[in-house]
């Protein structure tokens, strides 16, 4: 499986299309945004339903802890709900949500760096263990565990970039917008993150 075409397509069509969990997106139509900003409960529910897995997934990859991830994901949606009025129509809703949840994750990690170092691996390992699996699943579980561990060991500023790019599939420009960083910084951090991961995952290469 070659990553290049997928990534290229992803870049062209945006994360809505090739998101790891492809939801029938609520869309960014002006009408939808208008309803949201008008406080339409149904519209907000659609937004949550469409984005829940991505928001939760990002939090989980970043935090490595399901309970914390759920906390952060819920808090992200609540903040979005409170801040809908100030949502600028020129940004994408998904970008906006990613920005919120990324900030929450980074804040939390900054506050509990050591805790994650200690518990992150165990939590990620537990996630891997949850997978049902006899033979190949065992191999796959091993890979997943290695992946979680490798991601968990990255410095957060690299981790968030590589997760947003290679797991969530955001474009460089989106990541730059989400993290409020220059694109060049995103690019170099992403490259460093990939090099780190490459060294840790070499044994899984074909």
């Amino acid at each position: 499986m070659s990553a290049c075409p997928g990534v290229a397509v992803c870049d062209r069509l945006g994360p809505w299309v090739l998101a790891p969990v492809a939801e029938p997106a609520a869309g960014d139509s002006a009408e939808f945004v208008r309803r949201l900003r008008a406080g339409d409960r149904r519209a907000f529910e659609d937004l949550v339903r469409a984005q829940q897995h991505r928001v939760y997934g990002l939090a989980l990859r970043m935090l490595g802890n399901a309970a914390e991830a759920q906390d952060v994901a819920q808090e992200a949606f609540l903040r979005a709900h409170r801040g809908l009025a100030e949502f600028r129509g020129d940004a994408r809703l998904s970008t906006w949500l990613h920005a919120i949840v990324s900030r929450l994750c980074l804040n939390r990690l900054a506050g509990s760096e050591r805790r994650l170092a200690r518990h992150g691996e165990e939590a990620l390992a537990r996630l891997a263990d949850d997978r049902p699996g006899p033979d190949q699943a065992l191999e796959r579980g091993e890979l997943e565990e290695a992946l979680h561990r490798a991601i968990g060991e990255l410095p957060e500023e690299r981790r968030i970039v590589v997760v947003l790019r290679d797991v969530e599939g955001l474009a460089y420009e989106e990541i730059a917008e989400v993290l409020e960083l220059p694109v060049g910084t995103v690019r170099s951090r992403l490259h460093r993150a990939r090099l780190d991961l490459k060294e840790k995952l070499e044994r899984f290469f074909p």
Partner: protein
């Protein structure tokens, strides 16, 4: 292009994020550098591995939780909801509750001052009786009586100052004393009717000295000890008849039981006094004794009761004889009515009422004031007052039997008096329970 420069751009190449010129240069380098090509492959493999991470799903119910939290009413709103939510149900309930609280507060408010006033009255009234009431077991009453009798004999002008000396209980009387008293009681009961006329009449005429001079004559049945105890209270008793009434005597015995030890325990002194007084007796007293003991059978009693303490015997004499002081000073009944009433009330405190009834009055306080005036006039006294339910006040009154009818009449003037109970024969001091009720 160096390998270092090339490798820096590998990620961007994989992401198709290189400007066309850069990409062309990189492609040229990769085509000649196997190392950099290998590096590119490994990066590509790494990204592929990341892409194999299984999708993550938010936990079940996540949307509902977020929605519930997002649309949870604000705190003040929640509070209002909690208080009034089903408006139609909660508001009436709350209104009723407020009303109930208000009504009960009003009720308590109206009751409270009255209760306080009552409490004050109670404490003002109760101490006097309590100082005169028979002290608890062991504190003998006999000395008091004796002292009192002496005072009477000396014609002390202050008979009402009698207070029970806080004397510790002398050693308890032997069984002899007890037995004798029981015998006394029995014989007293038997004898009482006979004595009614004679002893009483005699007693009234007996001079004060008789109190002490009365000899422990064999004719004096020890049973009369009961009279000793009653002596101070009864001394102004104008009705000798009731003085000897059997029921009364029995009660006196019962009443006196606690001070049995005292009575029996102070024999020597009292006995001596009595004996020493013996030579100086008034003939009246002697006559009283003689008259009081008509039955030969009872003459035997004293000898049987020989071990009985002297005071008992002497008391008998005193009892009969000490009544008279009221006679010489006729105004005693009225003059020191109040103080003597006090001591009387003390003697009566423990007894059951002899008469009772309801006094329906238009207003309680004036009625009680009128009652107090009436009691003063009659030489009677209030001995207890307590608040019963429904605004009823129970007032216990002790009145000399002779003035009992006047009391009842007076009550009739104060309000509507409905007698409920009246003993067939009234003791010299009639305890009347007046239930004051207010009838608008």
């Amino acid at each position: 292009m160096t390998c270092h420069d090339a490798r820096e751009q590998l990620s961007a190449l994989l992401d198709d994020a290189l400007p066309v010129p850069d990409r062309q240069a990189l492609d040229a380098h990769l085509s000649v550098c196997a190392e950099c090509r290998r590096e590119l492959e490994q990066l590509q493999a790494t990204m592929a591995l990341l892409g194999r991470l299984p999708p993550v799903h938010a936990p079940a119910g996540f949307v509902d939780r977020v929605m519930a939290e997002a649309y949870r009413p604000s705190r003040p709103r929640r509070l209002l909801d909690a208080l009034f939510r089903p408006l139609r149900v909660k508001v009436p309930i709350e209104a009723v509750a407020v009303l109930l609280v208000g009504v009960s507060a009003l009720y308590v408010y109206q009751r409270a001052p009255e209760v306080q006033r009552l409490a004050r009255q109670e404490t003002r009234e109760s101490p006097p009786p309590s100082t005169v009431t028979p002290p608890p077991a062991g504190a003998p009453r006999a000395p008091e009586v004796q002292q009192f009798a002496r005072q009477e004999a000396r014609e002390s002008p202050r008979p009402s100052t009698v207070t029970p000396p806080p004397v510790a209980a002398p050693p308890a009387a032997g069984t002899g004393g007890e037995q004798s008293r029981f015998r006394d009681q029995a014989s007293a009961t038997k004898r009482a009717p006979v004595e009614d006329g004679a002893a009483g009449e005699e007693a009234r005429q007996a001079p004060p000295a008789a109190a002490l001079s009365a000899p422990p004559a064999p004719t004096s049945p020890p049973a009369r000890g009961g009279d000793v105890r009653e002596a101070p209270a009864a001394r102004s008793e104008p009705s000798p008849k009731s003085n000897l009434e059997p029921k009364f005597e029995k009660e006196a015995q019962v009443e006196r039981r606690p001070d049995a030890g005292g009575g029996a325990g102070t024999p020597s002194g009292m006995g001596k006094v009595a004996q020493s007084a013996e030579p100086s007796p008034s003939r009246d007293a002697a006559r009283a004794q003689a008259a009081a003991t008509p039955s030969p059978a009872e003459k035997a009693a004293p000898s049987m009761a020989a071990p009985a303490p002297a005071p008992e015997v002497r008391g008998r004499a005193g009892g009969v004889a000490s009544v008279p002081p009221a006679a010489p000073t006729t105004e005693g009944a009225t003059g020191d009515a109040l103080p003597s009433a006090k001591s009387r009330s003390a003697a009566r405190l423990m007894r059951a009422v002899d008469a009772s009834g309801r006094l329906a009055v238009p207003a309680r306080e004036p009625a009680e004031a009128a009652l107090d005036g009436l009691l003063r006039r009659l030489g009677a006294a209030r001995v207890a007052r307590r608040l019963e339910g429904q605004g009823m006040v129970l007032i216990d009154v002790v009145v000399p039997a002779a003035r009992y009818r006047e009391l009842i009449e007076g009550l009739g003037h104060i309000g509507r008096w409905t007698p409920e109970h009246e003993a067939k024969t009234l003791p010299p001091e009639v305890r009347v329970e007046v239930a004051v009720t207010v009838e608008p």
